[in-house]
């Protein structure tokens, strides 16, 4: 009985002690942090689902067999999965040769973009020359007014390429893209120049002064010292350029780039070709072939991104793209 009388007193003693406050705040903080990370988890999972749902849908659909596609009870998980869609898609996309040529084209254009945009960005970051502010405003103009605005004049320029009467029709070839990229007017070149400019401005000037004192010329300094030091910016621009050039439909449509060197254009006609050649008449089944084609087309670009992903995000953080 004595014990029970003592309990309230013990409690009161405990409440007024410092240990009580300490433990109370620890429990409260623990609950708060737990709840916060729980809500964060829910939000992240929810948004990730919105992003991943179509991808999951496309991937699972590409394995659907005919029975699965007409069975309303089947959702996402096929009952009798088949690889037939992929066989057809690989066959009619002419997958490996065309993918090879696409990657060659995309990589080539990216290398050009890297070279030219880094040069221009460096020139703006380090040298003073007349009208520099006006010229840099033109870079911003290139970012703000996208190439889509001048689609028709661009089309005309390359339809009748050259001066005077000796014009060449450069459409239906990769040359318009290559020429534009070589002259710093490629796909989103303005943005890449801006990124490189920001990055080079953030590098210490002492590096070049040392190179100059040691007798290196401007170009040698640039190629030997500045470019190797610019790897964060290079990775950032390389990923952007590879992905956007691969996914691009603007250049492809404007210059009518043939589908033998651009797999995304081949994909456009895939459904029609398969439907014709294999006599597949239901739209639902045609779509399954298209899904398999989409997966095949997206695999390389997703792989590129996953390979470079970690360095890419670090690169964006370090290249000062935002300043």
């Amino acid at each position: 009985m004595q014990k029970s009388r003592k309990l309230p007193e013990l409690w009161r003693g405990y409440r007024s002690s410092a240990r009580y406050d300490d433990q109370k705040s620890r429990v409260l903080n623990g609950t708060k942090n737990g709840l916060l990370s729980f809500f964060r988890f829910i939000i992240i999972v929810g948004i990730s689902y919105v992003i991943l749902a179509p991808v999951i849908g496309i991937i699972s659909n590409s394995f659907f067999s005919r029975q699965d596609s007409i069975n309303p009870m089947v959702f996402t998980i096929p009952i009798s999965p088949t690889l037939a869609r992929y066989e057809m898609a690989v066959k009619y996309l002419d997958y490996l040769p065309i993918l090879g040529r696409t990657l060659l084209y995309v990589t080539g254009v990216t290398l050009l973009q890297l070279l030219i945009c880094s040069m221009v960005g460096y020139g703006f970051a380090r040298y003073r020359f007349p009208m520099k502010k006006v010229l840099f405003a033109f870079i911003v103009l290139m970012i703000v007014v996208p190439l889509n605005t001048i689609q028709f004049p661009l089309y005309m320029t390359f339809r009748y390429f050259g001066i005077g009467d000796g014009t060449v029709n450069l459409l239906k070839s990769p040359w318009p893209t290559v020429i534009l990229s070589a002259f710093g007017c490629g796909l989103r070149s303005g943005l890449y120049i801006y990124i490189f400019n920001q990055f080079f401005r953030g590098l210490p000037k002492e590096i070049e002064e040392a190179a100059l004192v040691d007798g290196a010329g401007a170009w040698r300094t640039y190629f030997r010292i500045m470019l190797p030091n610019a790897s964060p910016a290079i990775i950032t621009v390389a990923v952007f350029s590879l992905v956007w050039q691969y996914n691009d439909s603007f250049f492809a449509n404007t210059f009518n780039i043939p589908d033998s060197i651009l797999i995304t254009r081949k994909l456009d006609s895939l459904v029609a070709v398969i439907a014709n050649a294999e006599k597949i008449l239901t739209i639902r089944e045609q779509q399954l072939y298209f899904d398999a084609g989409v997966v095949l087309v997206l695999v390389p670009v997703v792989l590129i991104y996953l390979l470079l992903q970690r360095r890419f995000i670090e690169g964006v953080e370090r290249s000062g793209i935002v300043g």
């Binding site: 990370s37 964060r40 939000i43 992240i44 948004i47 990730s48 919105v50 992003i51 991943l52 749902a53 179509p54 991808v55 999951i56 849908g57 496309i58 659909n61 959702f75 030219i116 221009v120 460096y122 020139g123 380090r126 040298y127 020359f129 010229l135 033109f138 703000v144 007014v145 996208p146 605005t149 001048i150 689609q151 028709f152 004049p153 089309y155 320029t157 009748y160 534009l180 070589a182 002259f183 710093g184 120049i193 401007a218 640039y222 996914n247 439909s249 449509n253 995304t264 254009r265 456009d268 989409v294 087309v297 997206l298 991104y305 992903q309 970690r310 964006v316 953080e317 793209i321 935002v322």
Partner: protein
């Protein structure tokens, strides 16, 4: 570097040589810009005042000057230009704040350290990778497909439980929210998927911006006894304000590039209506630039540059 002029040799000063070198670095772009970019912009203005036809047999180009006829046709006679232009601009204005808030919010979440952060960042950037036009229709269809799966279940539940969306809309209406605000919220909810898909690059930019805020500012705020909420508004938001401007520019241009009016201009010239197509491009670009200039001006007044 030496040059010979009037038979007399003289040396360029260090400054002059340097500026020549600088011009050397930007030369490829300068040529390209003047020939292709500026040239095409001028041509665009010229084409918009012309009636152009291409002779099918010889491929020769015939141009006749028609003055402002193309503009008059675009605004008064064309079936859909006014409407497409308005809806494109409205879409842009609705999406812009949503994308900015959403990407800042996500960047704040992803900036904390937690397990699986690299994976989540990779997922959030995925829409940029999957944004190919060629696969766009497949993505849209798959989104609908996956949504039907869930939303049909939700609809069934709603039917059996007697819950209806319109009831909630009614409820919000009773809260005396202005109808425009209500409409905006309903629109925004409808656009969640497209807003999330359009925020990939912006999220990355905001994460980079948050990383560049010096930790000492947060330390000071904590020592002065600021709560997390106060720190957000007094430290984080002012510090990322310049990046909000960058992201606004990026978002507006991105939305404009993907907008219906740009598509309409492309379709029009593919239908051999060259002059009209030029007018569409010109007018929509000018309007976008005006809006952008206005927004950037307004934001710039509130921006604070740390460096």
């Amino acid at each position: 570097m030496t040059a010979i002029r009037n038979g007399r040799r003289f040396r360029l000063s260090f400054e002059q040589r340097n500026s020549l070198r600088g011009l050397g670095f930007i030369l490829p772009w300068l040529i390209g810009f003047l020939v292709f970019y500026l040239g095409c912009l001028i041509q665009l203005v010229r084409f918009s005042l012309m009636n152009i036809s291409i002779d099918a047999a010889t491929g020769a180009r015939l141009e006749t000057f028609v003055g402002l006829d193309n503009f008059i046709e675009a605004f008064t006679a064309h079936a859909s230009f006014n409407q497409v232009l308005t809806s494109s601009v409205m879409d842009m204005l609705i999406d812009l704040p949503m994308i900015i808030f959403f990407s800042l919010f996500v960047a704040l979440i992803l900036n904390r350290k937690f397990r699986g952060r690299a994976l989540v960042r990779a997922i959030f950037f995925l829409p940029v990778i999957l944004s190919a036009d060629a696969v766009g229709s497949a993505i849209t269809r798959a989104t609908e497909l996956m949504n039907t799966g869930v939303s049909s279940t939700a609809a069934e539940m709603a039917a059996s439980g007697g819950v209806s969306v319109s009831y909630y809309i009614q409820l919000f209406g009773d809260l005396a929210l202005p109808p425009t605000v209500l409409q905006y919220i309903v629109d925004a909810v409808n656009r969640i998927a497209s807003i999330i898909q359009g925020s990939g690059v912006q999220i990355i930019l905001f994460i980079a911006a948050l990383q560049s805020i010096p930790g000492s500012l947060y330390e000071v705020a904590r020592i002065e006894g600021a709560t997390g909420y106060e720190t957000l508004w007094k430290v984080t938001v002012p510090m990322v304000m310049p990046h909000i401007i960058t992201n606004t520019i990026y978002t507006v241009v991105d939305r404009f590039t993907a907008s219906q009016v740009v598509k309409l201009a492309g379709d029009t010239y593919r239908n051999y209506n060259y002059g009209l197509s030029s007018v569409f491009s010109l007018v929509s670009t000018l309007i976008t630039c005006l809006i952008l200039a206005l927004i950037v001006y307004l934001l710039n007044k509130r921006a604070f540059y740390y460096n």
